[in-house]
């Protein structure tokens, strides 16, 4: 095995060049002024102070809200779906999980445009409602449209880890629970759910991470006025050109995410540790 270890070296070089250095650059940008040029930099903490501005605080809170709602809906739908799938025989399960992942083969942008043609004022749903005589309603550019798009986009990231946890679970534990007098509901909460907690935590982490930093979906389904953290960062780099502020927001987001991952891992181990 030893001589295979040297095979990791190209990867180390690669990740240093493409991950570590860019990260360090973001850190550097976030604590300096002077725009995109690295020649005349000045160190400052102004970029971070700017975030305290109520406008930006609003964006952070809104992102957090949308992220939490999306994650919660994904948890409810994803757990149900994973639970139902895990009840089928093994070969059927593989097929069903494949169906869950099929949307991921198609670019997010395309899938989101598909939602536009469904939801827009002259879209499929509204023409249908109009035919029925219910009348048109505005679905586009609302929280509902954004959350709908995000839930559909991120659901597989919840289903797959939970399904994995449920599928590899020792089925005799369920039988043992029935055997000891627990009915279906009691068995689910006292045994099945407890055993699936690691999968739930993985799913929560992934969906929350992705939902809080996305920018394509809020931009397309929320419209130009709909700004989440992801859009804020995108704007700083693409249209405003304030790379320093953009880097500061990215950094804060990254740190916030790291803290959340750390906290969920902490809950995970204490759940497993209460023996």
């Amino acid at each position: 095995m030893r001589h295979f270890k040297s095979l990791i070296r190209p990867y180390l070089v690669w990740s240093f060049l493409l991950i570590i250095i860019p990260l360090l650059l973001i850190v550097l940008y976030s604590v300096t002024t002077g725009g995109n040029s690295l020649l005349n930099i000045q160190f400052t903490l102004d970029n971070f102070k700017k975030i305290a501005d109520p406008i930006y605080r609003q964006v952070f809170l809104r992102s957090l809200k949308i992220g939490l709602i999306t994650t919660l809906i994904c948890l409810l739908l994803g757990y149900t779906l994973a639970y139902v799938i895990s009840g089928f025989r093994e070969r059927t399960q593989t097929t069903l999980i494949l169906f869950v992942t099929i949307p991921m083969w198609i670019n997010t942008l395309l899938r989101t445009y598909a939602w536009i043609s469904l939801l827009s004022d002259n879209g499929v749903i509204n023409s249908f409602l109009n035919r029925l005589g219910i009348g048109r309603m505005s679905i586009m550019y609302t929280d509902f449209a954004v959350i709908l798009g995000m839930v559909c986009d991120l659901l597989p990231f919840m289903v797959i880890p939970i399904h994995t946890a449920l599928a590899k679970m020792d089925k005799s534990l369920i039988e043992a629970s029935y055997d000891l007098g627990a009915n279906r509901r009691q068995t689910f909460w006292k045994v099945t759910f407890k055993l699936s907690i690691p999968g739930v935590i993985n799913g929560l982490t992934m969906v929350f991470l992705l939902s809080i930093s996305t920018f394509v979906i809020p931009k397309l389904l929320g419209g130009g006025q709909y700004v989440l953290i992801g859009n804020l960062i995108e704007k700083q780099f693409i249209s405003v050109g304030d790379w320093n502020f953009g880097s500061a927001i990215s950094l804060i987001l990254a740190v916030a995410i790291l803290i959340m991952i750390w906290a969920t891992k902490k809950i995970d181990t204490s759940e497993g540790g209460e023996r």
Binding site: D170, S172, L173, E175, A176, S177, Y178, D179, L180, G181, A182, N183, Q186, K190, V191, K194, L195, E271, G272, E274, R275
Partner: protein, 350 residues
């Protein structure tokens, strides 16, 4: 043998199909209060399926399952007064020893102080005092086994089902647990239904052994009956080692095989009926060739610890013999049989 009370479980014509495969082909069986009953058979014979039907994890395709006279075939497992010790114990990994044992009582919302008292009593019955706070995943196989037994018995079931509970233990521990299980059964005084493929386990613990093969019951009897009076070739072959020889019943108490007539003690066969004879290797006595009808040559001798296993080749067949005496390979010997040691069985249809 323990005092057995009334019939507690009755299986009537139970069959079970999985897809198009029939794993149980009509099982009729009475199980009594306070009985230690063992279902014995090779893997795939249907013994575990019977246990799972009694526990409620499988529904019989046909037939009745009576518990105290009431058909419970469709009653879910959590409503049956029956508990199971699973093959790989199935302890809850997220609960400690105490909470595993208390699981059933917690579900029934029993008073905490009563739970505490019962769990403590059960843990001391299985010899795990002081293990309450231990992590079940860090216990040895034997200890996990004891937790599983305590977790089942604490619910005071009428019947305890044990699905090959000793198969994961090493040989020495298995012997120890055999004695202990028997002791526990006598102490709590309930019915144990034990599933195993290990004949020695079955013979040393049970009041009644049910030998199964191919989804059918081959013989029901006490360990002594099963060993000494096997009803057919399968039972004779599966339980212990044996020489099985085809022959004819001349008349009551006279059997003919390998060209000679022998006195025996079996009666009730038709005249000249084709039968099979079981000779246990330890029952064949070796004498000088001129003192016996059956003569042959020793073609192999293997030391097995307590005894030697000899193979004696006669004109018709090879006999397996267990003896504590040393015999040289190549020696001509005679073989003598006591009439009690000749067990006549009905011939099996294949």
């Amino acid at each position: 043998m323990a005092d057995m009370g009334d019939c507690i479980i009755e299986l009537r014509g139970i069959t079970k199909n999985f897809d198009d495969q029939q794993v149980l082909r009509g099982i009729d069986l009475n199980i009594y209060e306070n009985q230690f009953l063992t279902l014995l058979g090779p893997s795939g014979c249907g013994k575990t399926t019977i246990l799972r039907i009694i526990a409620g994890f499988e529904e019989p395709s046909k037939g009745e399952l009576l518990f105290n006279g009431i058909d419970i075939a469709k009653v879910p497992p959590y409503k049956r007064e029956i508990n199971t010790v699973f093959q790989k114990y199935a302890l809850f990994p997220f609960l400690n020893v105490y909470d595993n044992v208390a699981f059933g009582l917690n579900i029934k919302k029993v008073d905490k102080s009563v739970i505490h008292q019962k769990v403590q009593k059960m843990l001391s019955l299985v010899g795990l005092d002081g293990f309450e706070k231990r992590d079940v995943t860090l216990l040895s196989g034997g200890q996990q086994q004891r937790v599983a037994i305590a977790r089942a018995l604490v619910n005071e079931p009428k019947v305890l089902l044990l699905d090959e509970p000793l198969s994961a233990l090493d040989a020495k521990l298995r012997k120890e647990m055999q004695g202990e299980l028997k002791k526990i059964q006598q102490e709590v005084g309930i019915t144990f239904i034990f599933v195993t493929h290990d004949q020695e386990e079955a013979l040393s613990m049970s009041d009644t052994v049910v030998v199964m093969n191919d989804g059918k019951i081959q013989q029901i009897g006490t360990p002594v009956d099963i060993y000494n009076e096997p009803e057919n070739r399968f039972v004779a072959d599966f339980i212990g080692e044996s020489n099985i020889i085809e022959g004819n019943m001349i008349r009551d108490c006279l059997v003919k095989f390998d060209g000679y007539e022998f006195e025996c003690v079996d009666k009730g066969f038709k005249e000249n009926e084709e039968i099979e004879v079981v000779l246990r290797p330890e029952d064949i006595e070796i004498v000088a060739p001129e003192q016996a009808n059956l003569v042959g040559e020793i073609i192999s001798s293997v030391f097995k610890g307590v005894h030697y296993e000899l193979i004696v080749k006669t004109a018709q067949r090879e006999y397996k013999i267990h003896t504590t005496d040393i015999h040289e390979v190549g020696k001509k010997v005679g073989m003598v049989l006591d009439k009690e040691d000749i067990h006549v069985m009905y011939k099996m249809d294949y």
